[in-house]
Structure formats: structure tokens, C-alpha cells
């Protein structure tokens, strides 16, 4: 019998883009809700954003099964943390845990591209950006996923973050007000969905500030 299937792969790319922007007292995390495989759209309403703690949210794209496993693993770890310490994990702590979790699978990685956003212990917005095996960096804004090549330069251009090479180090949070940041994120996704076939359908925006967590939605191109 001839072999009809291409060689089996444990990975798939289900696409999607994620963006996070940190401000002085807020953090905006956004992702589209399209899930694709190849030229197929599997579903138009799949949330890529996962609330990990009261002040910590993760947006992930890549291989959905790995992303789901990662989210569930972190949720379980956070439960254990709460039992042991009687408090919510802070965003920087979760950032380190995420890095360790990804690196733990260094030689059979989670194919997931994450941005983590939230408020730090001082209530200031923070964003952490990752690669699939756990390298991470604290930044003022970031983008990951299929549309990141379109989104990232646009953010660089608009946000004019101080160079990380400057000494002494300058704070990376964006100067924008919360409403401006949300508008920017909307624009950025509307643009990305024009050219990236894996980004579209609907945009989910999560805003974290002193009042708590808020969700917003915006329609994107469905074609």
C-alpha cells in the first residue's frame, strides 16, 4: 500500500497574533480569536488569552494543544502556590515560572509564543516576551505570533521606546494613556489582519489596571 500521509509531525501551527503594551498604571494584552491549520479556519472564536493570576495575563499563539497544556500546567502551579503562600503570584514571579516551564521542555519544546502582561508589585504595567524555549525579557511592549513581523515594527515606530542600550537603563513603559494604548492595539490588529491570513475574525483585549481586569472585543476581517 502506498503511503499517502506526509510524515507525521507532532506539531501544527494554529496561527494567531498577540500584543501586550505596558503603561505607567495599566497593561493592555490583546490577541485575535482565529484558530487555523494550513488554509483552513478551524474556529473563529477561540480565546488565546489566559488569566493566570489576579494581576497577570498571558496571550499565546502557536500550537494550540501545547498552548492549552502550558496554560493548564501554569494554572495548576498557581493553585499550589496559592495553597502554600496564601496569596496570588506576582507578575514577575509568574514570568520566571513561565520561563522555567518552557525551558523544562527545551528538547521537546512547547511550540508556543507567549507574551505575559500585568502589573508588578508597585502597580506599574509590565510586559514579558518569550521564545518557545524560555528566553525572556522584560519590555514595555511586545508582539508574538504569526502577525508579529507586521505588528512589531509598527509598535516600534509608534511607541519610540528608549533604547535598551542606554546607560543608565531607562524605563521601558510606554508614555501613552490607557485609552490611547487600546486604540493603538486596535489599529495594529486591523492592519495585521489585512495581510496575515492567520490573524482575523475578532480581537480580544484585556485591560489590567488598579480597578481590576476588563475585557473588550472588536470585530476583525473574517476573510
Amino acid at each position: 500500500m502506498p503511503k499517502e500521509q506526509a510524515n507525521w509531525s507532532p506539531y501544527d501551527n494554529n496561527g494567531g497574533s498577540c500584543v501586550a503594551v505596558a503603561g505607567a498604571d495599566y497593561c493592555v494584552i490583546a490577541a485575535d480569536t482565529r484558530m487555523s491549520t494550513g488554509y483552513n479556519i478551524l474556529t473563529r472564536d477561540y480565546s488565546k488569552i489566559c488569566k493566570l493570576a489576579d494581576k497577570c495575563v498571558m496571550a499565546s499563539s502557536g500550537f494550540q494543544a501545547d498552548v492549552k497544556a502550558l496554560q493548564k500546567h501554569l494554572a495548576a502551579r498557581h493553585l499550589i502556590y496559592q495553597h502554600q503562600h496564601n496569596k496570588q503570584m506576582s507578575c514577575p514571579a509568574m514570568a520566571q515560572l513561565l520561563s522555567n516551564t518552557l525551558y523544562y521542555k527545551r528538547f521537546f519544546p512547547y511550540y508556543s509564543f507567549n507574551v505575559l502582561g500585568g502589573l508588578d508589585n508597585e502597580g506599574k504595567g509590565c510586559v514579558f516576551t518569550y521564545d518557545a524555549v524560555g528566553s525572556y525579557e522584560k519590555v514595555g511592549y511586545s508582539s508574538q505570533g504569526s502577525g508579529s513581523t507586521l505588528i512589531m515594527p509598527f509598535l516600534d515606530n509608534q511607541l519610540k521606546s528608549p533604547s535598551p542600550l542606554l546607560l543608565p537603563a531607562q524605563d521601558a513603559v510606554t508614555p501613552l494613556a490607557e485609552a490611547e494604548a487600546i486604540d493603538l492595539v486596535k489599529t495594529v490588529f486591523a492592519s495585521a489582519s489585512e495581510r496575515d491570513i492567520y490573524t482575523g475574525d475578532k480581537l480580544e483585549i484585556v485591560v489590567i489596571n488598579a480597578d481590576g481586569i476588563r475585557r473588550e472585543y472588536m470585530d476583525l476581517r473574517k476573510d
Partner: protein, 273 residues
């Protein structure tokens, strides 16, 4: 002098059909400070008495959250209680990981009882010296279970364990018929009253008790001290006005007798307490 020949390890039967080591473990439960639990159709309330070991120390934590829908109150060896609640937490997390739904309370209780049972049948193990009141909510409603070192478990409307729990049991037995339709706050009130019964004249203060609630729309949580004090004040349960100190004394007498082990009565094994 009489010496019990049948209590040197857990796996030895007495001719009367009793396992003394297991009964001693249950004795440890009776000596721990009291814990009580009661439930309505929608809520379960757990309460316990906090007793510090010395003037210089703080008290030990006796109520543990297991998951959003389950919590336990313990009496006996607190260290064993902590080990068991960690086991329960793990089971809940694992179940949730596979099914993304909460572990039914009754099933967790059976797993816990089976774990305790193993310790009554292995020569190299020792029974857990802790009694657990397990409060929880699942698709079949609110539940309150008592888990015993013997591996037995029972479902209750209301129950009390630990030292001087007989007084609380008497109180609960008098009132349990009203519990099913009680409001949450009335349940907390009855919990505080039952706790007071175990204090034997000592004033009920939020500093010497802990109260926790789980119910429909209310994940398991321990009430903070101010809330408890407010409730004590609101219900005007101060204590000191009751007289029948004779009853607990009689119970204490029985307990002391039971401690003598095989020498006293040759009746049925008291494993189902």
C-alpha cells in the same frame, strides 16, 4: 499488673475482634481541640477551636482549603492532617487537569478513607491520628463527611469531633432538623453556638475560633477574624450563661474509661465513631 497483649502493632486482632492501635489513633482525634461542621441544602460551615500549645506560641491552623469547592477541618495530629489535606489538594488538581471539572466530594472522601484504611492493614505503617470533617459542594448538592483514622467515613447533617465535642454534638442534635433550610448566616450562627458549647464556660471570641464557609456561589473560604467577631457580637453569643457542665464531665468519664482499652468492656468494636 494488667498489660494489653494485643496492641503492639496495628495488624494484631484482639480476641474480641478489635484493633487497638486503630482505636488509639481514634483516641488522638478525641484529644485534639474541637472541630465542628454543619450543612444546609446549599451551604456547609466548618468551625474549630484554636488552642495554643503554650502561652508563648500561636495556635496551629486547623481548617484547610482543598479547592474552591472543598475544605476540611481537622482534629487530632495536625501534622497528619496537613499531609492528608495536601493529598486531597493534589487529587483535586489532578482531576481538574483531566476533566476540567471539580472532583465530586463523595469520591474524594472515599479515596481518603481508602488511604487511611491501608494504614490499618500494614505492619510497617501507622494509622493517621487525625479526624477530618470534609465540607464540599458538587452537582448533587452540599455535603459534610467525617473521615476517621480507621478508614471509616460517614455523611452527616452536622457533626463535631475533638475534645469536649460531645457538648457541641448535643447542641447540634437538638437543632439539626432546622439546618436543611437554614440561611448561610444562620448556619454560621449555629456553628459559633456549637463551638461555644465546647469551650466550657470560656468566653467565645474570634481569636479562639476559626469559621469557614462553602456554598452555592461561594467558593470555600475562611472567614476573617473581624467578620467572625462581628457575627459573635451580632448574635450576642458571649457564653458563660449555661449551667450543665455535668454532661461533658460524664462524657469525659466515658472517654477515660475507653482509654483503658481491652480491660473495660468486651462489646462491639467502637470503630464506627
Amino acid at each position: 499488673m494488667f498489660r494489653n497483649q494485643y496492641d503492639t502493632d496495628v495488624t494484631t486482632w484482639s480476641p474480641a475482634g478489635r484493633l487497638f492501635q486503630v482505636e488509639y489513633a481514634m483516641e488522638a482525634v478525641k484529644q485534639g481541640s474541637a472541630a465542628i461542621g454543619l450543612r444546609s441544602k446549599t451551604h456547609v460551615v466548618l468551625g474549630c477551636v484554636n488552642k495554643a500549645n503554650s502561652e508563648l506560641s500561636s495556635h496551629q491552623k486547623k481548617i484547610f482549603k482543598v479547592d474552591d469547592h472543598i475544605g476540611v477541618a481537622i482534629a487530632g495530629l495536625t501534622a497528619d492532617g496537613r499531609v492528608l489535606s495536601r493529598y486531597m489538594r493534589n487529587e483535586c488538581i489532578n482531576y481538574n487537569f483531566t476533566y476540567e471539572s471539580p472532583l465530586p466530594v463523595g469520591r474524594l472522601v472515599v479515596q481518603l478513607a481508602d488511604k487511611a484504611q491501608v494504614c490499618t492493614q500494614r505492619s510497617w505503617k501507622r494509622p493517621y491520628g487525625v479526624g477530618l470533617l470534609v465540607a464540599g459542594l458538587d452537582e448533587s448538592g452540599a455535603h459534610l463527611y467525617y473521615n476517621c483514622p480507621s478508614g471509616n467515613y460517614f455523611e452527616y447533617q452536622a457533626f463535631a469531633i475533638g475534645s469536649r465535642s460531645q457538648a457541641a454534638k448535643t447542641y447540634l442534635e437538638r437543632r439539626f432538623e432546622n439546618f436543611a433550610d437554614s440561611s448561610r448566616d444562620d448556619l454560621v450562627k449555629d456553628a459559633l453556638m456549637a463551638i461555644r458549647e465546647t469551650l466550657q464556660g470560656e468566653t467565645l471570641k474570634s481569636s479562639i475560633c476559626t469559621v469557614a464557609v462553602v456554598g452555592v456561589g461561594e467558593p470555600f473560604h475562611i472567614l476573617d477574624q473581624e467578620t467572625v467577631q462581628q457575627m459573635i457580637n451580632a448574635f450576642e453569643i458571649v457564653g458563660e450563661q449555661e449551667g450543665p457542665a455535668a454532661e461533658p464531665d460524664a462524657a469525659a468519664g466515658q472517654e477515660a474509661a475507653a482509654e483503658q482499652g481491652g480491660s473495660t468492656d468486651e462489646g462491639v468494636a467502637p470503630m464506627d465513631i
